[in-house]
């Protein structure tokens, strides 16, 4: 967005107004009456520019509000992919830089040259810090493939546990799914329910007898052949299975496999997922082969003592107190499952907003470096400090936009 030196009303060889009166500071452009006239015009110009920026960002806020109004479940799910810790640090960093920007204006007005240079330097440092933190967040998302549009193929659910995904290059995990991009369907590796074994997603337990092998392959396309294979045992079923990285805590021998379900990848049934307990992502040389035998589900004897949903016959007593899951458990249950339809839209809006804001921070850094150079050369005097004031106003607006972005994107409940 080429702004040019839009209204930093600096001029380099100004003289008095035509046939004009007294010589103001050398920076007063000739067509202004005096320094006050130039400063006020510049101030009004920057305020109009800020209003224009507000409208520029309003487009994205409308997209955010409309999309959240229609699909609150996507926002409830996707917001915990974002790390509130980094967001809060970024907010603090921007507020500090806002303080030093305002202080720089004060120093320029009182001709405290060293204070001005110090404040400008701190503002630039904070801005670079902000972009650094943004880089950390973005690289984490790229690493876990939490991106926008068609590239949204998360390795982890928003509660952090691993998910079946299409690309299958996730760190620390390898699934049996081999995705065929042409037909946009899983080529192989999905255990479709009709194979006869009985898979009870609620218990996440394995009803049928399954054998999982890790194959190392060589070559691609037609001459792809298997080099070696080794069997993998099942992971010990931990109580809240699949929470946190590394597939459950407690004594766990790696690698081990579990069955995970993701309707976007394997519509009919689960897929096998081998946990390695480390953070390296295996390429296409490693493939997982899973075969399950059909085992008819055991017929459960009618449990006379099981809680009858709702009405109890006279004389019957129910011993098991029905546990109503708390709101937190429901939320956790929802967030450890696969993402709802079109969750990529949340990240389209997230990357659009934070990306555009980051671009404005970057532009702010260039403006402040240019201000620092001029401050060191001693251009700014109590009569001519316009550019510092206008840059500070622009920087406060960038901070303002982040003040609204942070709660809207990170603090969704």
């Amino acid at each position: 967005m080429s702004d040019h030196d839009h209204d930093h009303g600096h001029g380099d060889d100004g003289h008095g107004h035509h046939g004009g009166h007294g010589h103001g500071s050398p920076w007063i452009q000739h067509h202004y009456d005096d320094a006050q006239h130039q400063f006020d015009s510049g101030k009004l110009g920057i305020w109009f520019f800020l209003v224009q920026e507000v409208l520029f960002f309003s487009g994205l806020f409308v997209a955010y509000i409309l999309y959240r109004y229609h699909h609150p479940e996507i926002y409830a799910y996707a917001h915990s992919y974002l790390d509130v810790k980094w967001g809060a640090i970024n907010t603090a960093v921007l507020i500090i830089s806002s303080l030093t920007a305002a202080w720089a204006v004060r120093c320029a007005q009182l001709a405290q040259r060293r204070g001005l240079i110090f404040c400008l330097a701190v503002t630039i440092a904070c801005a670079c810090g902000f972009l650094g933190i943004k880089y950390v967040e973005y690289s984490h998302k790229i690493h876990e493939r939490i991106l926008f549009g068609k590239k949204f193929d998360p390795c982890i659910a928003s509660a952090g546990n691993h998910l079946l995904n299409k690309e299958n290059y996730c760190p620390g995990v390898k699934t049996s799914v081999v995705w065929d991009a042409k037909t946009n369907k899983a080529d192989r590796g999905c255990l479709d329910a009709p194979t006869g074994y009985d898979w009870d997603p609620a218990l996440k337990g394995i009803q049928g007898k399954c054998v999982v092998n890790e194959l190392t392959m060589s070559g691609t396309g037609a001459n792809r052949k298997e080099v070696s294979r080794r069997p993998v045992e099942a992971c010990a079923p931990s109580p809240d299975h699949g929470s946190g990285h590394g597939g459950g805590h407690g004594k766990q021998t790696y690698p081990c496999w579990t069955l995970e379900q993701n309707p976007h990848v394997c519509p009919k049934g689960p897929g096998a997922m081998v946990h390695y307990g480390d953070h390296t992502s295996r390429g296409s040389t490693v493939e997982i082969e899973v075969t399950c035998e059909a085992v008819p589900a055991p017929v459960e004897p009618k449990d006379a003592l099981a809680p009858v949903d709702g009405k109890l016959e006279r004389g019957e007593a129910s011993f098991k107190k029905p546990v109503t899951p708390s709101k937190h458990d429901l939320k956790h249950e929802f967030q450890s499952g696969p993402p709802p339809e079109h969750t990529n839209m949340f990240f389209s809006i997230y990357f659009a907003m934070t990306g555009l804001h980051g671009l404005h921070v970057l532009f702010g850094i260039f403006v402040y470096i240019w201000l620092l150079v001029r401050a060191i050369k001693g251009h700014f005097t109590p009569d001519y400090f316009g550019p510092v004031d206008y840059a500070a106003l622009y920087w406060h607006l960038v901070d303002l936009i982040w003040i609204f972005l942070f709660p809207l994107l990170y603090l969704i409940h």
């Binding site: 229609h70 303002l400 409940h413």
Partner: protein, 131 residues
């Protein structure tokens, strides 16, 4: 803003000797501390569960308070010409207009969005007015 009849000369008396108002250190630091405190508050507020809408409302109230602090003290709007405030309000009003009218349209057509292409949702059958 357009019906601004305040002419070019500005109303605020210039108590500083320079061209524009000089912000006192006390004001700058005070605003900064308030902003940091509010940030901590808004992060802490997510711990208490008031339901999605109320949490959003609370977060927005805090954000608006922070925004007004920055605009009034850091951007000198409190000591500046009235017209700049009129300008800011006009800009926010235009943005609010955009949001409001776009939201107004969302009420009706949303249930006809196809999430499942085989099961089309029912058509909005409206009552037939007596001619």
């Amino acid at each position: 803003m357009a019906s601004d009849t305040s002419s070019a000369h500005d109303k605020h008396d210039e108590h500083g000797h320079g061209i524009a108002h000089v912000a006192a250190v006390k004001v700058l630091l005070g605003t900064w501390i308030a902003l940091m405190f509010l940030t901590i508050i808004t992060v802490a507020a997510t711990k208490i569960d008031l339901g999605t809408n109320w949490n959003l409302a609370l977060a927005m109230v805090i954000a608006v308070v922070k925004a007004t602090l920055v605009v009034l003290f850091f951007m000198h709007l409190a000591y500046d010409k009235l017209f700049h405030t009129v300008l800011v309000v006009a800009g926010l009003f235009a943005a609010a207009l955009f949001v409001g009218f776009a939201l107004m349209d969302s009420g009706q057509y949303q249930q006809t969005i196809i999430w499942d292409t085989d099961k089309p949702p029912p058509a909005p059958i409206g009552p037939r007015p007596v001619p």
